[in-house]
């Protein structure tokens, strides 16, 4: 794997540090005081039902949403005051692939590279597209690609600038079995390279297998944090649904 993050030696001790992060959308409390710490080289599995706050938390970390209260440090940087530096340090894959339908994968990645001030990118782009299995589609318009292939290109786009922290919001959507294996390899490569990954997923079994730490959100609050080695699907399912609490 050549995608591994290349965190600088000057990286802070923790990839993520959150205390009391809150976010409301009108009358709806999306996050009600989330505390979280994540070290480098770690994969965090983010679990919870729909509406539990997983996507909002990831969007706060990605600077797409400003929290109402609490403190957050992403790669040692404040997402509110140092938003640009945080964006340079993260790679984000959301529900949408964030690709332009009328551009080719190569053009989409070249555009992303120019936004991220990257130089001499053609070789990097070609290498990444090959790595995600999309090189045969490199010069076709994205609108002609399948959802799964577009998701692979989206993964390449998120890894283009070698982010120290990878934020993945249900990235398995649209991926076939081969694509899922690729995703797992990419996640492992980022963590092995000294980076960190936050993976939001509804696939509990996969999440437990891929992640080192688990965080369960329920109605915007942290319901459980534990090393995945201490959990099984049944106990995780119980934590997600709130049974026995």
């Amino acid at each position: 794997m050549r995608t591994s993050a290349a965190p600088s030696p000057a990286l802070p001790a923790e990839a993520l540090s959150l205390e009391g992060v809150r976010k409301r959308y009108g009358a709806t409390a999306a996050l009600t005081g989330v505390d979280l710490r994540l070290g480098w080289g770690t994969v965090l599995g983010l679990f919870g039902h729909n509406g539990a706050g997983k996507s909002t938390l990831l969007r706060v970390l990605a600077t797409l949403v400003r929290p109402d209260a609490g403190t957050a440090l992403v790669a040692g940087l404040d997402p509110t005051r140092q938003a640009s530096a945080v964006r340079a340090a993260i790679g984000y894959v959301g529900h949408a692939p964030l690709l332009y339908d009328d551009l080719t994968p190569t053009e989409n990645l070249a555009f992303a590279a120019s936004l991220f001030r990257l130089f001499d990118t053609p070789a990097r782009i070609a290498g990444l597209l090959e790595e995600v299995g999309a090189s045969a589609y490199a010069h076709r318009r994205v609108r002609t690609l399948s959802n799964g292939m577009a998701k692979r290109v989206a993964l390449a786009r998120a890894l283009l600038h070698r982010p120290a922290l990878l934020l993945l919001d249900e990235p398995e959507t649209g991926l076939d079995a081969d694509g899922l294996r690729l995703l797992d390899r990419l996640i492992a490569a980022v963590a092995a390279g000294g980076g960190a990954v936050v993976l939001s997923t509804h696939d509990l079994e996969r999440g437990l297998r891929v992640a080192d730490e688990a965080l369960v959100l329920r109605r915007g609050a942290v319901a459980l944090t534990a090393p995945t080695g201490t959990l099984d699907v049944t106990s995780l399912e119980a934590a997600v649904s709130g049974e026995g609490s």
């Binding site: 990605a62 600077t63 949403v65 400003r66 640009s84």
Partner: protein
């Protein structure tokens, strides 16, 4: 600042590349402009006397409404395709998105305005081919592009965006529209630089003020 300029240039080039490939915005906006010009042609007696009175208004009604249509699409296409988040994830100031989008919108509007000039010549025997009229078009388009890009970004987050943009935009853009109509009236009436200079000063001042204020305010309108 340097990073923001680079990002703005990248966004501008991307918008142009997509537009050249699809011709979605120029195509739809141009059809609207031509239809507007045709409707006015049937509504008014195109005699020289009548034309002298209404021509500047016809030209700028067509340009302003087609401009609004184009501005509405600037962010709507990003929103519909889900790519607005990609721009928001760029490690540059939000003003980069403003300048990039403004550049793309201005290019489309100025191209449509240029393509409409022969239509006005054909329908109204109205020659818009003069450097001072071109300067009027550029000054006015920059002005309403500056305001319109900001309000298009506000409107894109609302359900009634097609209605909201004109409601927000037209009252604020009024000084530059009045300036454009005033300058066009003077120039079509045979006036020269001395006659249009006050209008040019008004539009230039409006452009400078709105470019500064709107690029500063833009960061806040894209907050979720």
């Amino acid at each position: 600042m340097r990073q923001s300029l680079r990002a703005a240039w990248a966004i501008y080039r991307k918008d142009l590349r997509v537009e050249l490939r699809t011709r979605e915005t120029v195509g739809s906006v141009l059809v609207f402009a031509v239809v507007t010009a045709f409707i006015f042609n049937f509504a008014f007696d195109p005699s020289p006397q009548v034309l002298g009175l209404v021509a500047p208004g016809i030209v700028w009604v067509a340009y302003v409404f087609t401009g609004m249509l184009g501005l509405n699409r600037t962010f709507q296409l990003e929103r519909d395709r889900g790519t607005l988040e990609l721009l928001l994830l760029a490690p540059a100031g939000r003003e980069a998105i403003y300048w990039g989008k403004l550049g793309g919108a201005l290019t489309v509007m100025l191209v449509v305005e240029a393509l409409m000039a022969p239509v006005f010549l054909f329908l109204y025997d109205l020659s818009l081919f003069s450097p001072l009229l071109a300067a009027t078009a550029v000054l006015a388009t920059v002005g309403f592009g500056a305001v319109g890009t900001l309000f298009a970004a506000i409107a894109v987050h609302t359900r009634s965006r097609e209605v909201l943009l004109p409601v927000l935009f037209l009252p604020l853009a009024m000084p530059v529209i009045v300036g454009a109509v005033g300058a066009t009236t003077a120039l079509l009436g045979g006036g020269g630089l001395a006659q249009v200079n006050p209008w040019f000063q008004l539009m230039a001042a409006f452009d400078l003020a709105t470019l500064m204020v709107c690029s500063w305010a833009f960061e806040h309108v894209l907050e979720e």
